[in-house]
Point group: C2
Chain length 220, copies 2
DNA sequence: TCCAATATTTAGACTAATCTAAATATATAT
DNA sequence: ATATATATTTAGATTAGTCTAAATATTGGA
């Protein structure tokens, strides 16, 4: 099979393709993986030899069909284990990433399917990210940013863009988490801040900085 | 921390010390790990430099206090995950070893303690092997071999010596598993076979080959 | 006690993953 | 269009883990 390192590269390339378009640059991968461009070039050549990526020197890299399948399998495992850690072991959503980063590499197709069943086939992880199914299909998700919300409407929080620990802890403190209902009472055009209520609670001010990192869907 | 490889060596040395006495030979480790003696010598030197083992060239190796602690921590994780896989995910006891072999290397003290709690602080894994506690202490276990049982007495099965898949599957088929009560009706001195009943069921013949791989304690 | 069989270590080589520094290709800005 | 800046690759080195073959130490039998 693939080494941990190869798997981590596949996942990184998948995420960069998702954000920055189909051709991923050597430097982008190096930055994302906290390594050097020369190291990335070496690994790309290996992944290319294994037909996991398409690669033209100087022109960037993209996942092949098999590479994409492998990446989705790793992401599936990562998100299922995160769900397990939060729902079964009681960890907070800001604590689980590093553990899942290790658990995603456990090799056993049977284990993944049993875990999925044990967890009740969840569609989203604790951060609201979609969990690919056994075939690598992602659940449908139409999500918008909270900063594009309209005054007077209500929405359901569906996830976050930023996954950093400090951001997640802050959301915890103010009571925002995936699934909660957000009523948008005011929008201040000057600084793009919002005044909201969560599940009909007390009014709360949300800065642009935060609003642009929160995903919402139409409530219902 | 320690690499997967180092952890696997520590565990191997622990198990060999348990079975063969305090000084473990290079060849014994090589055989147990399915590798070469020269490879073992290299690794022993590294473990020795890290003060995880005591080593005198040509004289064998033994775990230091810290090495033993590390080995017990890995064994704790291995057996807790095996318990999880059987009790929560519904795997059979002959299916879980290879998965636990990977899961035992996940680094997160908090995860281990939460898992232990979630599982109800089990004292033994699905094979009847004792689970070290958070401090590395093993639960008390006075276990004897079924082949040393006495006619007319009853015992509780507490575990197995042999852990191979085929043996475990066979035990499953005849209904023997840790926790069951074994009534010894007959002992044939010629071939050292036994006639037993499990939980008061039908009479069953057990060969010496099997009897010497089953652990028992006094029933109650 | 001594020698041959066995066990262990050393020497030298290989692969995977990483790095720094140098070379080369691509992009951008007059 | 040319030169400068940036991005990428190549060259050469390092570390962990492994191997084979050769050297050396230990052990047990005559
Ligand atoms: Mn990872
Ligand atoms: Mn997540
Ligand atoms: Mn292992
Ligand atoms: Mn076990």
């Amino acid at each position: 099979m693939h080494s941990f390192t190869e798997e981590n590269y596949l996942k990184a390339i998948y995420k960069l393709m998702e954000n920055d378009g189909p051709e991923v640059s050597t430097n982008a991968i190096a930055a994302h993986m906290n390594t050097r461009a020369a190291t990335v070039t070496d690994m790309i050549k290996k992944l290319s030899a294994k037909k996991l990526v398409h690669y033209t020197p100087y022109q960037g890299v993209s996942l092949s069909t098999t590479g994409k399948k492998a990446a989705l399998s790793i992401i599936r495992k990562h998100r299922l284990w995160e769900f397990f850690l939060v729902e079964k072991l009681g960890f907070r959503w800001d604590e689980v990433h590093d553990m899942a980063e290790q658990m995603e590499h456990i090799q056993s197709p049977e284990l993944v399917e049993r875990l999925d069943e044990y967890l009740g086939f969840p569609k989203h992880d604790p951060h609201g990210d979609p969990i690919p199914d056994a075939k690598g299909r992602l659940p449908e998700t139409e999500a918008a940013l909270l900063l594009s919300a309209q005054k007077g409407k209500k929405y359901k929080m569906s996830g976050v863009i930023d996954h950093h620990v400090l951001f997640l802890k802050h959301l915890d403190e103010i009571g925002l988490k995936p699934g909660c209902i957000i009523y948008v009472d005011q929008i201040t055009s000057y600084d793009l801040s919002l005044q909201i209520r969560i599940n009909g609670g007390k009014p709360l001010f949300i800065s642009h900085q935060i609003a642009r990192n929160i995903l919402i869907t139409s409530s219902r």
